[in-house]
């Protein structure tokens, strides 16, 4: 670990703000900038900006407690996928009861929570306690992801919901890998003011009117002028 912190970080530490807190707060602008870059330039939408940012930090927290970068990915991804699966199942189950939206969502979240508990217990039974050792907050964040998923399913259909979930997972994994990258952590601790650069980047992204990378794929027949229909 680098011990050379910037004046700002030292002052924060002197006032009793933990180093981890300072670092994570400084990482947040980077994470949200990565998410906007993915949206505006690459064209990966995910569930807005809040959900992927939260999932990123959930990954981070799980990884930090398990003391291993790869465990963060392993546990985080499995909880993520489990939440999506159980969420879909319970939605199908709840469909026939025709309940109002919020009560229905509450039941879906309850079912996901119970399922998560079951998974943790089964893990313990097979002496795989790594996951059970993880603090509850990142897991709770993952569970509430189900609302975003189910409401998208209702609004835009299952296909879009699954695509958006996968995109959220990908962006979160990439952001997680970046904020766990030691050279970046040291850099941010040494030069915290460089975080302000993300504002400039976002101003640039906010004016960007070019095609998104994914749109080159979406419109590839149009761009290549290949008309599949023979006239």
């Amino acid at each position: 670990m680098s011990t050379e912190y910037s004046q700002l970080v030292n002052v924060a530490l002197a006032y009793g703000v933990p180093l981890n807190t300072v670092t994570l707060i400084l990482m947040l602008p980077i994470v949200v900038t990565i998410i906007t870059f993915f949206r505006q330039v690459i064209g990966i939408k995910a569930f807005g900006i809040y959900t992927p940012a939260m999932i990123t930090f959930a990954f981070f927290s799980i990884g930090a407690q398990a003391g291993d970068f790869s465990k963060g990915i392993k546990y985080g991804t499995s909880i993520f996928i489990m939440v999506i699966l159980i969420g879909t199942l319970s939605r199908i189950l709840m469909k026939r009861f025709r309940l109002l939206y919020l009560p229905r969502m509450a039941i879906v979240i309850t079912l996901v929570a119970l399922a998560t508990l079951a998974v943790l217990m089964i893990g313990g039974f097979f002496k795989r306690t790594g996951l059970a050792g993880v603090e509850i907050f990142p897991i709770l964040i993952m569970i509430t992801l189900v609302e975003k998923f189910v409401s998208t399913q209702i609004e835009k259909g299952s296909r879009i919901a699954i695509i958006l979930s996968l995109e959220t997972l990908i962006i979160s994994l990439i952001s997680y890998s970046i904020i766990r990258w030691q050279p970046l952590i040291s850099f941010v601790q040494q030069y915290p003011w460089t975080i302000l650069l993300t504002i400039l980047i976002n101003i640039f992204l906010g004016h960007w009117t070019g095609l998104r990378l994914m749109e080159y794929f979406r419109f590839k027949d149009l761009i290549s002028g290949k008309n599949v229909l023979k006239k």
Binding site: R98, H207, L211, I223, S224, G225, V228
Partner: protein, 461 residues
């Protein structure tokens, strides 16, 4: 590849360049409020589905007598979007009171409707998730011509209107995959439409080209009835909604013809794939035009954005669209042809060409002889005093000269010879009487004047 991608409108450009500055918040709010839209459009004499009853509160719901509902109707959330929460009811179940059926024959009871309305009032389908209003409206009956293509729903026509010109259109048909809604995200089929004729072109599903409907019918070449009328409705809707960049959704009712369904403030981009053309080119072409009447907007749209069937339509209206600078071909004496860029100038009466060009076209003798006589007469003002007959007599012996003319232009007054040539402009052959003048100091050696522009509409950039 790169140059073609420049014509495509992407999400970023759509939001930043077209939606943000053109669709103001108040206009967007109107578009999201279906009931207000209905009122506003109706007032502007745009036909909309008839409102049966709106239910605003739980009290309204408790007091509503379901037996007053007709046999078929549509139940909608007022602030719903993407077609969510819409329930289409096709008929009353025989022999039972207050039980209806959906398109898939599943029964709809009064309780079922009540729960659905409660969900709507609760805001389950609203864009913002806050409380909403439910309403019943008349169901659009499928136009027989579309019957073979649609699965359990009614196809609609999406038209992008910008600057009072319909720039692109697409027919959207519900499929089994889309569950009877014409939502493209859900697997509905979109078919491009030729703006001139209202005939369908290329079909797409999930942004990829398909040739036939799931039932094996060819999707191109479907003729949409009352096309001009539909285009007019779209422009009128833009005028009342003040959405500068509008997606107008229009359906066709078996009995009432075109009916306006919805205003869309954020129309999607797939329409480009189904038309096999980018929107940016078209949007740029209508940018800044002053369209005074609805009819003018329709005519421009048909003329500018008609594809292969363009010739036919231009033939009908008799006018072709040209720019202010056109590449033309002039055919002079002895079939001498010269290709050249000409300035189209509606401020000029006669078409005029430069002296050197006239010589190249085989009028050297004419000019020599004309100038000799002209100089003999001295000042042109003396010529002016002669009668037309006297002048004709004077220049009678000049070869290939048809007439002479006094031209008042911004450069002063001049006396010019007139000769006869043929001009080919935008593939049209125009026999023309043109004047010859020294235009060496000007950028274009040819000016096309009003006399030879009768078959054209000039588009000013």
């Amino acid at each position: 590849m790169f140059s073609k991608s420049k014509n495509i409108l992407g999400m970023n450009a759509r939001n930043l360049i077209y939606i943000r500055p053109n669709n103001l918040k108040s206009a967007k709010k109107l578009a999201d409020d279906k009931l207000r839209c209905k009122r506003v459009l109706k007032k502007a004499k745009v036909p909309v589905p008839r409102l049966i009853k709106s239910i605003k509160t739980q009290e309204d719901l408790d007091n509503f007598d379901f037996s007053t509902l007709p046999n078929s109707f549509v139940l909608k959330p007022n602030f719903g979007f993407g077609g969510d929460g819409i329930m289409v009811v096709y008929g009353r179940k025989k022999g039972s009171e207050n039980v209806w059926v959906k398109a898939n024959r599943s029964p709809v009871t009064e309780d079922y409707l009540r729960t659905h309305i409660k969900n709507i009032l609760d805001g389950s389908f609203s864009r913002t998730g806050t409380s909403d209003v439910a309403f019943f409206e008349e169901r659009i009956k499928l136009y027989p011509g579309f019957k073979p293509y649609a699965f359990r729903g009614v196809p609609d026509i999406r038209i992008i209107v910008y600057n009072r010109v319909p720039v692109m259109a697409m027919m959207r048909i519900p499929t089994e995959a889309s569950g009877g809604t014409s939502n493209l995200h859900r697997g509905g089929i979109g078919i491009g439409i030729d703006m001139a004729t209202g005939v369908t072109t290329t079909a797409i599903q999930y942004d990829r080209v398909v040739e036939k409907s799931p039932r094996g019918l060819l999707l191109s070449g479907i003729k949409i009835p009352q096309w001009k009328n539909i285009l007019e409705l779209a422009i009128k809707a833009q005028d009342v909604s003040r959405l500068g960049y509008l997606g107008a959704d229009i359906a066709i009712d078996r009995e009432n013809g075109p009916v306006f369904m919805e205003l869309n403030a954020r129309p999607g981009l797939s329409i480009q794939v189904s038309n096999q053309e980018g929107l940016l080119t078209r949007l740029n072409r209508v940018e800044g035009l002053k369209i005074k009447t609805v009819r003018r907007g329709v005519a421009l749209s048909q003329n500018l954005f008609g594809g292969e069937i363009e010739e036919e339509i231009e033939g009908l209206s008799g006018k072709r669209i040209i720019g202010t600078v056109e590449r033309i071909k002039i055919i002079g004496r002895n079939k001498k042809e010269i290709k050249i860029e000409a300035k189209v100038d509606t401020g000029a009466g006669f078409t005029s060409i430069d002296l050197d060009l006239a010589k190249e076209l085989g009028f050297s003798e004419t000019m020599e002889e004309y100038e000799r006589i002209y100089l003999e007469q001295g000042e042109w003002k003396k010529l002016e005093n002669l009668t037309a007959k006297e002048r004709k007599l004077l220049f009678k012996k000049v070869p290939y000269l048809v007439d002479t003319a006094i031209i008042n232009s911004s450069h002063g007054t001049s006396y010019r010879p007139i000769v006869r040539v043929k001009i080919i402009m935008d593939k049209k052959m125009i026999p023309a009487r043109i004047t010859i003048i020294d235009r060496q100091h000007l950028k274009y050696p040819v000016i096309i004047g009003r006399r030879n522009l009768k078959q054209f509409l000039v588009e000013v950039k």
